[in-house]
Symmetry: C2
Subunit: 216 residues, 2 copies
Amino acid sequence: MDVNPKENAVVQETAGPRERYRQQVRAEVLRHAWQQVAEAGATALSLKAIAKQMGISAPALYRYFASRDELLTELILSAYRELAEVVEAAGAGVEPEQIASRRLASVAQAMRRWALYNRHRYLLLFGTPVPGYSAPAEATALSARIFAPVLSGFSATFPPPGRPGELDPALRRSLAFWTRLHGVISLEVAGHFTGMPFDPAQLYAAEVHAILAELA
Amino acid sequence: MDVNPKENAVVQETAGPRERYRQQVRAEVLRHAWQQVAEAGATALSLKAIAKQMGISAPALYRYFASRDELLTELILSAYRELAEVVEAAGAGVEPEQIASRRLASVAQAMRRWALYNRHRYLLLFGTPVPGYSAPAEATALSARIFAPVLSGFSATFPPPGRPGELDPALRRSLAFWTRLHGVISLEVAGHFTGMPFDPAQLYAAEVHAILAELA
DNA sequence: TGTACATCAGTGAACGCGCGTTCACTGATGTAC
DNA sequence: TGTACATCAGTGAACGCGCGTTCACTGATGTAC
């Protein structure tokens, strides 16, 4: 495969016309890939189908992605990055003098919004793992980046005493925050609440309120 | 397709030898189907592969299942049934004079155990929906059956006042019970906790304790 | 400014594979007389 | 108990489809002199 020495550099600035074109096509491939994931899930991701949609022959795609797995990796990493940015922005969007619970509430709302607007992206990250595919190491780092604002929010109020054998309270609450929100979001995204006699948004809000109440 | 008039009857008793044989083969097909789901997920479910494993030609399977979708439906419904039985048994296993929170704690432990022993079964029910497949109506009824012991547990303590515009407290707590447990279980089952510096069982226990504390 | 050359995007044919499903059939098995 | 017949499990060939990926290639584009 072609080795691109600029792989990890910021490419846009010093790029010649060829490199620029390359990036454009890559972006278009990714767009179609997302559309496919959105319509039929990650397992349905198909290079040939993307090529057909783009009016291009399938082998041409191998100029841009070494394999189907590499494309899938790209999708997963970019979804992680996007969610990390959303979460960070939500945390940063709140005035710094506000108390931690305000910031965490903002993070919680941002997460749900993102998940509902990007159902398949959310499921790609947190749903059933794609069989035969294992996420790259970088994904773990991005998970940590998403989790960091939550952890720092709770750490601000709960200093880490950490009795041995027990979960550190800040970690415990951060995990609860995360798992509870995921519990509601994932069931909603997967469609398990449709037809049920309650409003998921209300349940979500109640859950957010309940866990933040422990901070007040 | 062959119409079997005994379809919904209890078949074992009055069955002739042919019917008995039929049920045996059906069971064997299902066994192999489960194994496939466990190894590669529901999307990988393949009639031809099952036939090969059984040392049989693929068309022969059509004597037992009208299509791949019917087989998948069977799997999903039986997984629902199994979980419903597990949950009901856990609730019933506790002496009736015990308080509701004892019963709910038992249900919670049973759910996690079942999920961890049947990861792919759990994901089949509550993970990413299989693209292009929509669950039969019966699934909704079985969901309700799983949910019933939880709801009755909370209703025992919280009579339904239900201010208008607000979630009924018993329903609210039942949903929280369910979504919180699902939040922890699903992330654990999907492998998102591997390598993290805490014990999922401990987190789960803490979550169960937290929600049941509101009953005490 | 013009030309020679290297680079590289994209093509079309092909590979081997697996899938769900249909069809006409064979042959064993149970059943009714 | 024996025979004729209906039932039905299972076969093998075939259909059309889609997949990821490799290969030798053509032709356009950018670059160095």
